[in-house]
Amino acid sequence: MKIAVCVKQVPDATVHKRLDPSTHRLDRSGEGALNATDVNAVEEALRLKEAQGGEVVVVSLGPEKAIDSLRKALAMGADRAVLVADEGAAGSDLVATSRVLAKALEREEADLVLFGQQSSDGDGAVLWASVADRLRRPMVSQVAELTIEGEGLTGKRQTEFGYDVIAAPLPAVVAVSDAINEPRYPSLKGIMGAKSKPQQIVALGDLGVEAGTVGAAGSRTVVRGVAPPPAKSDQVRIEDDGNAADKIVEYLAEKRLV
């Protein structure tokens, strides 16, 4: 079975807004890490491969230095990495990103395409559904348990109203939640071997994606501005003099919380 895992480099959660690079300073803006839930998706792919054989390829769209993050997936055991890195794709929104990824995935002809459900930078949080529509494949999201048998898959997912068990034939697209597994640590040998695994950087032209249909030009949404949130109301401090409970109720009532 061939499994493609879509992964993404996200800004490291702890990285504060980068300093403005004053003159003569290296550009450090690309410091990042592999999106956490994508690691769960890689882990799930590796487990399926270990059980059934096959190949695991990680696919990503991002700047060239995102290859550093893809290497973590290779260190865990993925077989190769494909990174679509192209200036023309910079600034892609959901429709544009899904267009590029779908093209890259079409080339791979994978039996199963996996996504991680959450993205820590808030972008691409619903990408799998767009990609599945473009690939014309059945899709199951929020999967916390995944089994593959024969030509089909079964996924258990949590929704607002309990658990749904959904079956679909392969090839299919699946987004997994972080509850699905506990990702392995890359072994030191895995880390050292990752560098020499195939890592392909492809351009939009290689995928047959026309410039102008992706990137900022191919996007349908824009960011208009950024503002600070309204200040949090002042903190209230109550020293209990026997009436603390009344004061709490008063506060909650005022805030319409009771």
Binding site: S141, R220, A245, I248, V258
Partner: protein, 319 residues
């Protein structure tokens, strides 16, 4: 600013609250407001949308939509959007709605902005507001073409009963071959009695300051009075006072209820990361230097074994 279409979901034969709340917001934005109800046997529910501000409700009632699966809904909604000519399509966030919205975005090559907490018009431009970077900044987002798709955080807008009636229009959908390949084979109800902590609007959490496992009865009673769920810190879960399923924090669950009441919790960093998204945080602790007071909205210095039961009593009396 022509028409706005609100995607409505049903549960147990009724429209869900998130959807009808969004109808009220759509009415506030102005222009025609229509609802879209997709399902099987949902005509009655659809008609009820009129009472919340929809002048028209488009219904796709089809056996193919009986299970809560997104892909056939993309087909159905595509037909409704084309039929209605709506410029704006609003979705109340849910596991299902997110997938429908993203699938539709690809289908129509339409812009989708998500996780929005507000919407407004600036002239002819629709502007969405999205909190980012752990809600520390608000980003204004827009669309460069129509239809504009917007996924709005659940529970953002309250329903407003307008008492009107809606014209119900049936729309027929054609389903793509791949859309009906996935099928629901089983549905399991949630077993727990109270709300799960990830879903609860109110959480009462207990820490080491409860003094022992028996202290959790204080939390449970207060939670019951508020219709909330009980959570615990890692320290007390480790100590065996409360089950792991209720642990909030880095190695437990991340929650963001409207109200979080922390009893005897000092506020370790690993706990904070699991609950800092809560709307209002009330902390009761006898240690005036407890770190939790630095990020609590209401910090009460005192004996929780006195204050919390009294609070429970007062809340019960209000009901």
């Amino acid at each position: 600013m022509a028409g706005t279409l609100v995607y409505l979901e049903t549960h147990g034969g009724e429209l869900t609250k998130g959807g009808v709340g969004l109808l009220a917001k759509a009415a506030e934005l102005g222009g025609d407001v229509a609802g879209a109800v997709l399902g099987s046997g949902v005509r009655d529910a659809a008609a009820s949308a009129g009472a919340f501000g929809a002048s028209t409700v488009y219904v796709v009632d089809d056996e193919a939509l009986s299970a809560p699966l997104p892909q056939p809904r993309v087909d159905a909604l595509e037909a409704v959007v084309r039929e209605s000519g709506a410029d704006n399509v609003l979705f109340p966030a849910s596991v299902l709605a997110a997938d429908v919205a993203a699938g539709l975005a690809a289908r129509l090559d339409a812009g989708l902005n998500w996780d929005l907490t507000d919407l407004r018009f600036e002239g002819d431009e629709l502007v969405g507001v999205r909190p980012a970077l752990g809600d520390t900044v608000l980003v204004d987002v827009g669309w460069t073409s129509t239809p504009r798709l917007a996924l709005v955080r659940s529970g953002t807008f309250d329903p407003v009963e307008s008492g009107g009636t809606a014209e119900v229009k049936e729309v027929a959908a054609t389903f793509q071959d791949f859309s009906t390949l996935a099928r629901l084979v089983d549905h399991l109800q949630e077993e727990s009695s109270g709300p799960a902590i990830e879903e609860a609007d109110v959480i009462v959490a207990g820490g080491r300051g409860l003094g022992g496992p028996e202290g959790f009865s204080i939390c449970e009673e207060l939670a019951a009075a508020l219709g909330g769920a009980v959570a615990a810190t890692r320290a007390v879960v480790d100590a065996g006072w409360y089950p792991y399923s209720a642990q909030v924090g880095q190695t437990g669950k991340t929650v963001s209820p409207k109200l979080y009441i922390a009893l005897g919790i000092s506020g370790a960093i690993q706990h904070k990361v699991g609950m800092q998204g809560s709307g209002t945080i009330v902390a009761i602790n006898k240690d005036p230097n407890a770190p939790i007071f630095d990020f609590a909205d209401v910090g009460v210095v005192g004996d929780l074994t006195q204050i919390a039961p009294k609070l429970t009593e007062l809340l019960r009396a209000r009901q």
